[in-house]
Symmetry: C2
C-alpha cells in the first residue's frame, strides 16, 4: 500500500491514454456492450435495442379497407360510370358490404369503392341495393395484410435508439416489450475535506475554505444525459482508507467509477495510489488542457474501469465529455456522437500550450456574413465559461496556436440555428445589459455579451466581431462622451450612437467607509489600496481624466496596476478586503451592500453600425428600448437615469 | 348536441389553421408560458428555467490558492532567483504558509508561490523556514473571490434549457433548488371500438378486424420527448357520450387534449361534434398530407385547447410534430426546434397533391459526391415509412411537384453524421441483407436498403443513387445471371460483380398445398389465383423466362397483374388467402410456415461500382462477406447456399 506522496505526473497523449484504457478493458471483458433487459414499450423511449426485432404479427393483420365505402368484387363493378351506374345488392348473396376505414373486407370481396362514388340506397322487396358510379380495379382502396410489416420481417436493428414512432412500430407488429441495453452504472465519488453540499451552504452559509461540492452533480447529470445510470455518493473526506474502501465498494456494482478530485500529484491526491493498490494504474496525467491530471485504471478482481477526474470544475466537466461519454456510447452500442461543426474566425490570438491538446471555450456569433468565435476565460475554475460557451475549439498539440482572424472549427454545444438568433454585444459591462437579455429571451432571442471595456467594444465593431458595443468613453478635451472615440475607431463605418441610460460612477468602499475616503485625492494615501479596471475600460478612462485634473500621477495610487474586468469584480475586491476602494457604478456597490461615494453621472451609449441597426435581428432590442417595460425595470435599479434612453446622439 | 353525420371536411391552409388556434389560445390565456415549480438541482436536468437566476454567493467565496504552494506577501519575494534564493519564515510572525490548491490564502498574504519554486525546508532554533527561488507579482496564483461568479450577478437567463454544467454553476453560487417550468400536461385519449392493446394482442392474439392501438403510445412518447407530461388514457369505444365525458374530464386537469382517431367526417368520427358541443370548433380539416383530417378547438369553461388527431399512424405522428411539438416548446419558453436541413437530390419524380402541403418521408444516402433522398411509401398507414425515414421533404401546396434529380431540402430526423456512415443498397430484396445489416450495425454502420427489384437496382446505380445493388437477373438467351444486364445498364461504369449466395426459388402455396399445385403449368388453371412481383424484379424475369419456355401466355395466369414488392408480401398474400400461389424464395415460405415447391436455385449477386468497391465505407461489408460469422448465419437459414459467397463473377 502506497500512501507516499508523488510529485510525478505524466503527459500521455490523449490517443495513447485511450489506447491503454481500451486495451485493458478489452482484456478484462469490460469493453463488451452492456447486456439487455426486457422493458414494456412505455418505458423504452430513448433506450437502445439490445437485439434486432422481427415482426411477431403482420400489420395490418388482414386485408383492410383504406376508405369508408363498400367492399365489392371488382369484377362486379366493370362498366359502371356516373351516367351508367350499376346496382349492387347488400345483404344475402351480397355484392356489396359497408366498411369503415380500417375494417376487414369480407373474404368474397377484392376491392373497396369509396362512399362518394355510391348513391341511392334503395330498399325494396328485392332487398337492399346501392348504385355505384365508377368501376374499381382489383385491390383498389384495400390495404393488403402485411402492407406495413409482415410477420418475421426485420423491424428494427440492434443498437437502435428508440424514437416514438419506433415504439409504435414495435407495438403494431405484436411486441408488448422490447429488449434494450441496461443503462451503464456509473459511480460518482466526490472526495475532499473542504467540501460541503449546496444544501448545507444554503442553510448555514459558508466558512472561509469551504467549497460547495457540485462536480458530482455535473458528472452524474452528464452520465444521465448520455444514457447511463449514475450513483452519486456522499462526500468522502480526504482519507486514503475511506476513499479506498468506497472505491472497492463501488467496484462491485458499477461499470465505471469516477473519483472526483485527488487525481493530481499533491499531498492529498490519493486516487493514483488507490488505483495502484486496488488494481492497475494505466495513466496518470494526460496531455490535454484543461484536464491534465486524469487517472485511468482498473480496480479489484472485477477489473472495473476507474477514472480519477480532476477537481477544477471545467477540467471535471471536460473529462466527462472526453472520457465518459464515449465509453457510455460504446457500451450502449451507439455511435460516438459528434457535435455539429461550424467554421468561424477566431476573434483574438490564442497561444498554443506546449505539447498539449487544448479545449478552448468560445461564444459564437453571426455578425453580418462573418461567423465569429470569441474565446472565453481559459481558467479551469471558471464553470461559467462552460455555461456561456456556444462551443469548443480544439487546438491540437504542437500546433503553432491560432492567429486572430484565422478560421477554426467550433464543435457546437448548441443547435446551429441558435447562433442565428444571437445578438452579439462586446463592450462595456453594465447590469442593464443582463436585464435587456432577459426581455430578449422572452422574444426567443439570445444576447451574448462579452465584457471587453468600451474601447475593446469599438475595436470589436471595427473587426466586425459584434453587432453593437456599450460605451461610456469620456473625451477629456470636450467632456463629451463617445463621439470622438467612435470617429477615431470607426472612421469609415456608418454608425448610430444611441443613449442607453445615464448612471452614477463613484468610489466603492467597505460598509461604513472605515478608511474615511471622501474623494479621489484620498487614493494617494499610503493606507488606501485601490483596485483598478483594465486598460480600455471607460471607467479607467474616467479615472485617468480625473487624476489628471487633480494633477495626480498613477504611481501615487497604490493598486493602480491591479486590474479587474467588471464593476462587480471591483466591488468584490473591496468586499473581500483585498482593496479599500475602487471606481465603479452605484449598482455594483449596492448589489454587494457596500458604501458608495458618487462623483459623476455618465452617459452610457450603444454604438451600432448602421447595417446592424437596420437588421431584423436587432429590431426587438430597439423595440424594448423604446417600450415601457425595460424602462421601468431599469429605473427601478439604484443609480440609473433613463431620461435619455433611446435618444439618438449622432449618426455618423 | 349534434351527433349528426357530417361529410364535410375543410381544407384550411396550415398557417391559417395555426393562426386560428393561437388566436383562440391568446384570448383565453392558454398561450401563456406554463408556470414555474421549484425543484432540487438533481431533478432539474433538461428542464427549462422559469426565471432568471442571480448568484446567491460569490464563487470562489474567498481568495483561493490556484496551486499547491506557499502563500506569501509578494513584496517579501522581491529579488528572489534560483541563484539568490530568499528565506521566508513559517510559523509565528510568519512570511509563508503552506496552502493546497483551493485553500484560502491568509489575510496577510497577496500571492502564492508554487511549491516547485521553493526548497530546503529548514527547521532551526529561529523557527521554520523555506527558501524561495523566484519572486512573484501581487495576486500571482490566486483565484480572487468571485472570479467565477459574484453574488447578485446573472448566472442563467429565463427560458434556458438546463445542461449538466448549468446545474454545477447554480450549485456553485449557492442555489440548492431552481425554478423550472412545470411540464405541460397533455391528455392522450385513444378511441375506437376495433382497438385492442398490444398486451391483449400478445396474450390472446388478434381477431380479424382487431387493430392494435399504438398511436397513443407514439403521441405520449412524443410529448415526453418534447418536455411534456403525458397522461395516456385507456381505450374508449366509439360512443359519443363516453368520449365526450372523457374529454370533459381531461380538460379539467390538462393543458392540451389529444383525441386520437374520429377526427375525420365518417359515421363514427365524433371529435368535431364533441368539440362543437363542449366549446369552439376552430378548424376541421387542414390542407396537409398526410394528416388532413385534423380538428382544432377549445373545450369547456377552461377553454382547454384540443386537437383531433387522425387515426392513420403516419398522419398521427406527423400531427404530433406539426401541432403538438411547437405548442409544448412555446409553453416551455424554448425556441421552435428546427431539424437540421440537408440539400439532396430526389431519386424519383414526386407529383404534388393539389393544394396541400405534403410531407414526404425519405431515406438519405451519401453516394460519392451526391446526396440522394429516396422517397419511402406515401401510405399514411405505413408506420415503418417513418421508422425508416432519415428525414422529411416538404412539398409546398401549389408547387408543381419535384422532378427526379431536382434538389430538395431534407429536414433530418438523424444526426447529419449518420448519413456519412450509411451504406445505401437499392435493388432486389433478400432476407440476407437484413442479416448483413445486423452485423454492420455492430460495426457502427447503417445499411439502408430499398426494395426496387433487380432492374431497379441497376438503374439506381446508373443514376448514382446507391453504393450497390443486389441482383438475380436471368439472361434467357444464355441462362447466365446478371452479366448481360450489367453490361446493358451500366455500359460505361467500371463495376465488380460479386456473388452473395445462391437461393431456392419456387412456388409458395398454402400449408398442405390444398389446390394440389405442382408446377408453373398449374398457373393456367381457372381455380388458381397467382400473385406476381413487380416489373423489374428478378423473380418476375425468372417467371417470364419459364412461362415462355412452357409456351404459356401472361393472360393465362390469373393474377399476373397483381404485383407485390417483396417475397414476404407474396407469401402473406398466399397466407391470407388473397392468392393461391406466388413465386418466391424458400426463406419467405418458411418464415410464414407455408408450403414451398422448389424449382430453381438461382445466383444472387452484388453489383458494385468499382469506386464504391474500393471505398473505406464499404470495406467492413466485404470483410463480413469474406469472414466466417455472416456465412454461418446465412447458411443456417433454409434455402440458401453460401458455397460461392464472395466470389468475383466478373470485373467490368
Amino acid at each position: 500500500m502506497s500512501k507516499s506522496r508523488k510529485f510525478y505526473l505524466e503527459d500521455i497523449p490523449l490517443d495513447e491514454a485511450w489506447r491503454r484504457f481500451i486495451t485493458a478493458m478489452e482484456s478484462s471483458g469490460a469493453w463488451a456492450r452492456v447486456p439487455g433487459e426486457e422493458l414494456p414499450l412505455e418505458k423504452a423511449l430513448g433506450r437502445v435495442t439490445a437485439a434486432p426485432v422481427w415482426a411477431a404479427l403482420s400489420s395490418p393483420g388482414y386485408h383492410a379497407s383504406a376508405m369508408d365505402g363498400y367492399a365489392v368484387r371488382s369484377a362486379d363493378t366493370l362498366g359502371a360510370t356516373e351516367t351508367a351506374p350499376k346496382r349492387l345488392r347488400i345483404g344475402p348473396e351480397r355484392q356489396a358490404e359497408y366498411v369503415d376505414t380500417g375494417d376487414p373486407i369480407p373474404s368474397w370481396a377484392d376491392a373497396v369503392i369509396q362512399i362518394e362514388h355510391t348513391q341511392n340506397v334503395d330498399e325494396g322487396a328485392a332487398g337492399k341495393f346501392i348504385e355505384i358510379l365508377a368501376s374499381v380495379a382489383p385491390w383498389t382502396a384495400v390495404r393488403p395484410m402485411g402492407e406495413d410489416m409482415v410477420a418475421t420481417e426485420l423491424v428494427l436493428p440492434a443498437n437502435h435508439l428508440l424514437k416514438p414512432v419506433d415504439l409504435g412500430a414495435l407495438s403494431g407488429c405484436g411486441h408488448a416489450t422490447v429488449s434494450v441495453r441496461r443503462r451503464p452504472r456509473v459511480a460518482v465519488i466526490p472526495t475532499g475535506t473542504e467540501l460541503v453540499t449546496v444544501e448545507q451552504a444554503a442553510q448555514s452559509g459558508l466558512k472561509s475554505g469551504d467549497i460547495i461540492e457540485y462536480n458530482s452533480l455535473v458528472l452524474a447529470s452528464q452520465v444521465r444525459q448520455w444514457g447511463g445510470e449514475p450513483t452519486r455518493y456522499p462526500i468522502v473526506v480526504d482519507d486514503y482508507e475511506r476513499i479506498r474502501d468506497k472505491v472497492r465498494e463501488a467496484a462491485a456494482t458499477h461499470d465505471l467509477i469516477l473519483v472526483n478530485a485527488g487525481s493530481s500529484a499533491g499531498s492529498e491526491d490519493f486516487t493514483a495510489s488507490i488505483v495502484e493498490e486496488l488494481g492497475t494504474l494505466l495513466v496518470h496525467g494526460v496531455a490535454i488542457r484543461p484536464g491534465h491530471p486524469v487517472v485511468l485504471g482498473t480496480v479489484t478482481d472485477r477489473r472495473t474501469p476507474i477514472i480519477g477526474v480532476p477537481g477544477y470544475p471545467v477540467s471535471c466537466a471536460l473529462t466527462g465529455e472526453i472520457f465518459v461519454e464515449p465509453l457510455i456510447s460504446h457500451w450502449l452500442g451507439l455511435p460516438q456522437r459528434e457535435k455539429p461543426g461550424l467554421k468561424a474566425v477566431i476573434s483574438r490570438k490564442l497561444l498554443s500550450p506546449m505539447g498539449e491538446d487544448e479545449w478552448v471555450r468560445v461564444t459564437v456569433g453571426r455578425v453580418g456574413k462573418r461567423t465569429v468565435a470569441a474565446p472565453l476565460s481559459r481558467g479551469a475554475g471558471v464553470i461559467t465559461s462552460l455555461v456561456r460557451a456556444d462551443g469548443i475549439v480544439r487546438i491540437p498539440r504542437f500546433s503553432e496556436g491560432v492567429e486572430a482572424g484565422q478560421e477554426v472549427t467550433v464543435e457546437l454545444y448548441r443547435d446551429p440555428a441558435d447562433i442565428d438568433r444571437t445578438i452579439v454585444h462586446i463592450g462595456s459591462h453594465d447590469l442593464c445589459l443582463d436585464i435587456l437579455a432577459q426581455y430578449l429571451a422572452d422574444d426567443g432571442l439570445l444576447f451574448s455579451s462579452a465584457n471587453a471595456g468600451s474601447l475593446g467594444g469599438l475595436t470589436a465593431l471595427r473587426r466586425g466581431d459584434s453587432h453593437l458595443a456599450g460605451s461610456h468613453l469620456l473625451d477629456p478635451s470636450t467632456g463629451e462622451y463617445n463621439i470622438a472615440y467612435v470617429r477615431q475607431y470607426l472612421p469609415s463605418t456608418p454608425v448610430v450612437v444611441m443613449t442607453f441610460m445615464h448612471r452614477e460612477q463613484g468610489l466603492i468602499v467597505a460598509p461604513g467607509n472605515p478608511k474615511g475616503i471622501r474623494g479621489l485625492a484620498d487614493l494617494a494615501r499610503d493606507d488606501v489600496r485601490f483596485v483598478n479596471r483594465q486598460r480600455g475600460a471607460g471607467t479607467r478612462v474616467l479615472l485617468d481624466y480625473h487624476l489628471n485634473r487633480l494633477g495626480m500621477k498613477h504611481e501615487e495610487v497604490k493598486g493602480y496596476r491591479r486590474e479587474e474586468y467588471t464593476h462587480l469584480a471591483v466591488a468584490v475586491a473591496v468586499q473581500s478586503g483585498a482593496a479599500d476602494c475602487g471606481l465603479g457604478i452605484a449598482a455594483a456597490a449596492h448589489a454587494l451592500e457596500l458604501d458608495f461615494i458618487p462623483f459623476e453621472k455618465e452617459r452610457y451609449d450603444l454604438v451600432i453600425p448602421r447595417i446592424h441597426y437596420e437588421s431584423p435581428l436587432l429590431k426587438p432590442l430597439f423595440d424594448l428600448i423604446h417600450g415601457p417595460v425595460l424602462r421601468k425595470a431599469i429605473s427601478d435599479l439604484p443609480g440609473y437615469d433613463i431620461t435619455a434612453m433611446g435618444n439618438i446622439v449622432i449618426e455618423l
